[in-house]
Symmetry: C2
Subunit: 321 residues, 2 copies
């Protein structure tokens, strides 16, 4: 995916030009640490590609892309506190390396910094960019709350789960793309289509993430498989399994949650999953969202459609099996 | 201060019209709980009075006032987590009544909601309102970080302490007033003067808060005096005391920090404070900022100066001795 690297280099270069102050050290060191990490920069690249698709340039769209990237990092910092995640991109998370208070406050500053970036765009576009960005930011918080609520919820339907991942992760992809379109003064119709493309790609991607956690090639995914089963995490796999299992298998799945032996837990859960054809059912759901996404993309009303966005999402959705 | 109550009623009415959604319950119930609490609503009233001073109306300025009020509540929610404060306005703080994760996320939503309010103002004013608001929001976070850093700092100068309270609490008062001026298309000069008025009033107010904690009338302040001494909190009193005490008194002040008997701790600390005339010195510092504030106010270039702002700040600074 070589064509992507020029875009991610562009974003990394913009990040290095942020010029964060040195003081207070405990506020800005964590931000520097986080923002300078490697990472695919998918979300800001979506904004850049969207602007280019609609006739704009990376230069026009760079502050919108940065707002998206900085907002995404804000969610990572606060989510990692809430999820007690010790690592992020293979490095200590901020609340681990410093402490929770510093992580809360650094996250807050990041959110404001995202708004600073939006305000660097053309003044007459700012209110509309702000409206879409605010709506998305609220939805991302709602999705994170739903995710936390699910931990204590007995029964989750497939629809509820999809709605949670739509809010928590997918709307930000839609927003990233729509900001690029707004910058190019695109029609409401095209804005809605590119947004829907992003949201559906996001849902497909998240479902694939769940599938890969169990069925991915460990060498390609870069971690041992079955982590979600060990952690008793709700995923599209566990939800589809619960909703299709007979009473006996359902009880077995419940009992397996308390099993201490990890390998045993994974393989016995997987045996039931296989019997119910969980992988196939989940792949169908993923493909449904992928197809819907492509449909929205193909219905865009533009004279000169570049495929770079489709190429990027293909790379994303064909990885690591 | 009866003229204030009509303004605070106006703000409370606006808050009740926010129409927060019901779901996710764990996200919006805490916000409803917090925003519907009583409170003096000083900050949003500053915005309304500033707009009226410069020829605008409450109606013009209401969304700016709400942005300030909601932002202030955001800082309370996150600060209370960081300070482990169990109570807020006499009621359980959000992280106590729910939990820290919910408090982090509710705070995040509040910050976005503040931006939503800003975006309800006249589109052509939004970029400038946003610029001032963002700058202030960053400074407030920096002030909170400085405050946390001070807990582990051996020696704090008077200047460092004043800078911390300027950032943590005073710039928001300046911003509240400046937003009112921006809405009325005021000159840069008047904007700067009303901002400086607010910042200096804020510093005076915070210094007075420190003085009242020890020297206030418990019946009027509504709590026992000496809480800051019991908690070994850095205040303008303790800092001025440290900077003016001789070596013997300085050692005594240090040793007193470990004293378990609260009454003894307060009275022996106060004896040293009195000897160094800490109260008088702090009152002088407070009066300096108050005088500076009045000077900025009086130099405003407007044809029709109402005193409501001065009346409000007089009420604030003459309370509870």
């Amino acid at each position: 995916m070589n064509f992507i690297s020029s875009y991610s280099t562009f974003i990394r270069n913009e990040i290095s030009r942020l010029n964060l102050p040195d003081s207070p050290k405990n506020l800005y060191e964590p931000l520097d640490y986080l923002l300078s990490q490697e990472g695919k920069k998918i979300r800001p690249i979506l904004t850049l590609l969207s602007a280019e698709l609609f006739g704009g340039t990376m230069e026009n769209a760079k502050h919108a892309a940065m707002a998206i990237e900085i907002f995404h990092n804000f969610t990572l910092v606060h989510d990692d506190i809430m999820d007690k995640a010790p690592l992020r991109r293979g490095k200590k998370s901020i609340h681990e390396k410093w402490n929770s208070n510093i992580a809360i406050l650094s996250g807050d500053v990041l959110l404001v910094k995202a708004y600073e970036q939006l305000n660097l765009l053309k003044a007459e576009l700012v209110p509309e960019l702000l409206r879409v960005f605010n709506k998305t930011a609220i939805q991302v918080c709602e999705g994170q709350q739903m995710d936390m609520d699910f931990e204590n919820k007995e029964h989750i339907t497939e629809e509820e789960y999809i709605e949670m991942i739509r809010l928590k992760t997918s709307v930000l992809l839609g927003c990233a793309l729509e900001l690029g379109a707004i910058i190019c003064n695109e029609s409401e119709e095209n804005r809605k289509k590119i947004y829907d493309f992003g949201v559906n790609i996001g849902i497909a991607f998240q479902i694939q993430d769940d599938i890969l956690d169990l069925y991915g090639n460990p060498l390609k995914v870069g971690k041992q498989t079955g982590g979600d089963i060990i952690a008793n995490k709700n995923t599209i796999l566990s939800i589809i399994a619960s909703n299709h299992a007979n009473e006996k298998d359902l009880n077995e799945l419940k009992n397996l949650k308390n099993l201490k032996n990890h390998q045993d837990k994974i393989s016995r859960t997987q045996t039931i999953f296989n019997k119910i054809q969980v992988r196939e059912k989940c792949t169908q759901v993923m493909q449904h969202y992928h197809t819907t996404a492509i449909h929205h993309f193909n219905s865009l009303n533009t004279s000169d459609i570049s495929n770079d966005l489709l190429k990027l999402t293909d790379v994303l959705l064909k990885r690591e099996f």
